[in-house]
Subunit: 419 residues, 2 copies
């Protein structure tokens, strides 16, 4: 059965804060940065009074920042006090879920103009505590309490994938290298630098200290050096993992009939899919996310398009293996071929299927509740030709976002069209 | 502007777990109790495969139980793995927000059959830690971090109200006594006992220990004794405060055209309103919740009914003062007259405007994310004449629920019709 919304939503503005570590800011202040940029991005402007409702994706603001009930507080912060303000949580897919609730709310007829945002302020806690908070997104009695944190869960997937399809370290590294190349061109990225940049700066420090100079003649050499890139959970190493990040992003959705009154080039959300999945121990296959496949199926079906039609995608690369699996679950490559595709450059910015031109979670950063919305910011910029130095060199009239909570227990896919 | 949904939702089944303290159960297991009761409450039955999506209200499962990302985990627990499962958080209004998202999702055309539930497992932590978690629902830099927990916040409101309208202790106590009278008739209630029952049991213990017997000749005497009913935050005493509770509740929503295929007597949700509010320091008046008034206005407007039409209401009596303010914000009584109305018995089960026939949060218990959904369970039972010993003695064809997050930063009001 094809699922249909009573009416579609269009994006008419986007904004994002800088991603990184911001000791002196509250989450609500990062959100305000994103909101102000969004307000300024609307070609024909908007009166803030016309924004009718607010959906916020945030994964664990109580644990990270000691602030729950964040939606009305942020609404007040940005001048939207009194508006319906609803927080949605689906672990690292919280942002994607907030987008979906905004789209559904517009389709319901209740609102014409809805703000959707995501925020996470993660760096207040030490890394080990952040890992513990994130581990609570797993099925705790069966997973985190018996020792599986997320690097471990994704390492299990990588191991299963390696066994089944012969994944190589070089394939994982190709994802890292590509996403850092893109992130180096993204001024908002937490790691606004390529692996080469990182390598050169490390070499400079090593020489400064008079230590023995390592034999790195390429990015791959650097990533293969276990001193530079230590194992976190085999086969995943440090540079296979997305970082801990503070950041916020938001988009303004309007009912499709209003879109052109805000801009000549709105981006319509033509497909939306969402699915859940069993905990890891209940799955038949660890090399794919059934929830992502189902969410993608729903989104393609609603949009009436096929994987081969998609011109670019932002996918949930919390770990490099996750990007490889994502490109297969979305139907871009056959199962078992995602690693090779990355190695061959097919997912590079000017490849046949650009994936994560923003730098992805790996280089742009991963403020967990904001990531699903930040993906939409990149889609908007690429579709409108506003991505600057990282602009894809083909017209992007169809794009896709893929946002995953935990190890795929929540999956959300959206498809966008510029018309 | 009257807000309209593209189509209405109807309730065709409800269920609740027992409310109380359950050391040996996970939140997901309490939810399963509620779900099984709900499945059995559907007059003509349903195939579980027909449930298309799930919205969960839960306020702080990570902090209370170490389990975030609860929606897909509960979906799996009750046999709905793979369905879109979305958690909504609005502090103690999380359940009401989940209901509203379910209604919106049906109106969007995306789903015809949606499960809405709420759960909170609060008693794992000691009381002081629960209070700290709940305090994070306030505007923390301006409230909890400078010492205002929720009993304190509501005490401020009670003090302002007392000053402005001459609130008496007896008026607050009238709310406590009434809600315990109702709770005594509710087998699911955490305090399935009247204040008299509590007093008699205390007296028996006092006599057993040979201690001096207090001079209690009425429920009021008992509540006025500061040994029995100590001050928590003046003027609020122990029996002005709702308890800490484990519990879950759920309802099944279907698109209105399908309702009669599940039961001859569905309950239609004909009005829905939601609003936010400033933090306490930003408000003009502490004796009313502007968010509740706005949400009520929206709900009445959508439903096309007036406060005087409502035959019963479940309101958010997290503290006795909150119930008094609620009955005014909802337009049942004029501002400043809610306390007197309670004292005169107008809100009693057989009064002119029955409020909280379930026992309310005070006696039924307050598992914070579940409370907004548990209110709907009571509405369903009263509207269908299935409330047993606590059945209201007039036909309840129109009812209302009022669910508040924190000190009113989130407010949700729904109106129901049996037809």
């Amino acid at each position: 059965m094809t699922r249909r919304l009573n009416r579609l939503a269009a994006i008419v503005g986007v904004g994002a804060s800088k991603f990184g570590t911001f000791e002196d800011k509250l989450g609500r202040e990062l959100f305000a940065d994103a909101f102000l940029e969004m307000m300024n991005s609307i070609d024909r402007g908007i009166n803030i009074k016309d924004i009718e409702a607010f959906y916020l994706g945030s994964a664990a603001p109580l644990s990270f920042e000691g602030q729950a009930h964040l939606a009305p507080i942020i609404a007040d912060q940005v001048g939207l006090a009194n508006r319906p303000a609803t927080r949605v949580e689906g672990a690292c897919a919280s942002g994607g879920l907030a987008l979906r609730e905004g789209i559904i709310a517009i389709a319901s007829g209740l609102y014409d103009i809805v703000l959707v945002g995501g925020v996470e302020k993660m760096t207040n806690l030490p890394t080990s505590e952040v890992t513990d908070v994130l581990a609570a997104f797993s099925d705790t009695p069966y997973e985190s309490r018996v020792g599986i944190t997320f690097p471990g869960a994704y390492a299990l997937m990588a191991t299963a994938y390696r066994h089944k399809y012969g994944l190589t370290d070089e394939q994982l590294m190709a994802v890292t290298i590509k996403n850092h190349q893109n992130g180096a061109l993204n001024p908002k990225a937490q790691f606004n630098c390529s692996i080469s940049d990182i390598m050169i700066s490390r070499l400079a420090k090593i020489k400064e200290k008079g230590q023995p100079v390592p034999d790195w003649s390429s990015e791959m050499d650097f990533l293969k050096d276990l001193q530079a890139n230590p194992v976190i959970a085999w086969p995943l190493k440090l540079f296979d993992c997305s970082p801990i990040t503070d950041g916020a992003a938001c988009v303004l959705l309007v009912a499709e009939h209003l879109a052109k009154s805000f801009t000549e080039t709105p981006v319509y959300v033509i497909g939306s899919g969402q699915a859940s999945d069993y905990s890891l121990h209940g799955r038949k296959d660890l090399t794919t996310l059934d929830g992502a496949k189902e969410a993608a199926h729903q989104a393609y079906d609603m949009a009436g398009v096929r994987p081969e039609d998609i011109r670019m995608a932002e996918v949930h690369d919390c770990f490099t293996i996750a990007e490889i699996i994502a490109t297969e679950d979305l139907g871009f490559f056959r199962q078992g071929e995602g690693g090779r595709a990355a190695e061959q450059g097919l997912t590079a910015r000017h490849g046949t299927k650009p994936v994560n031109p923003s730098g992805g979670l790996k280089a742009k950063g991963h403020p967990v509740g904001a990531s699903g919305v930040a993906q939409v910011v990149e889609v908007w910029q690429q579709m409108r030709g506003e991505a600057g130095a990282r602009q894809i060199n083909r017209d992007v009239h169809l794009a896709l976002t893929h946002n995953v909570g935990a190890h795929g227990a929540t999956c959300v896919v959206h498809i966008y069209e510029r018309r």
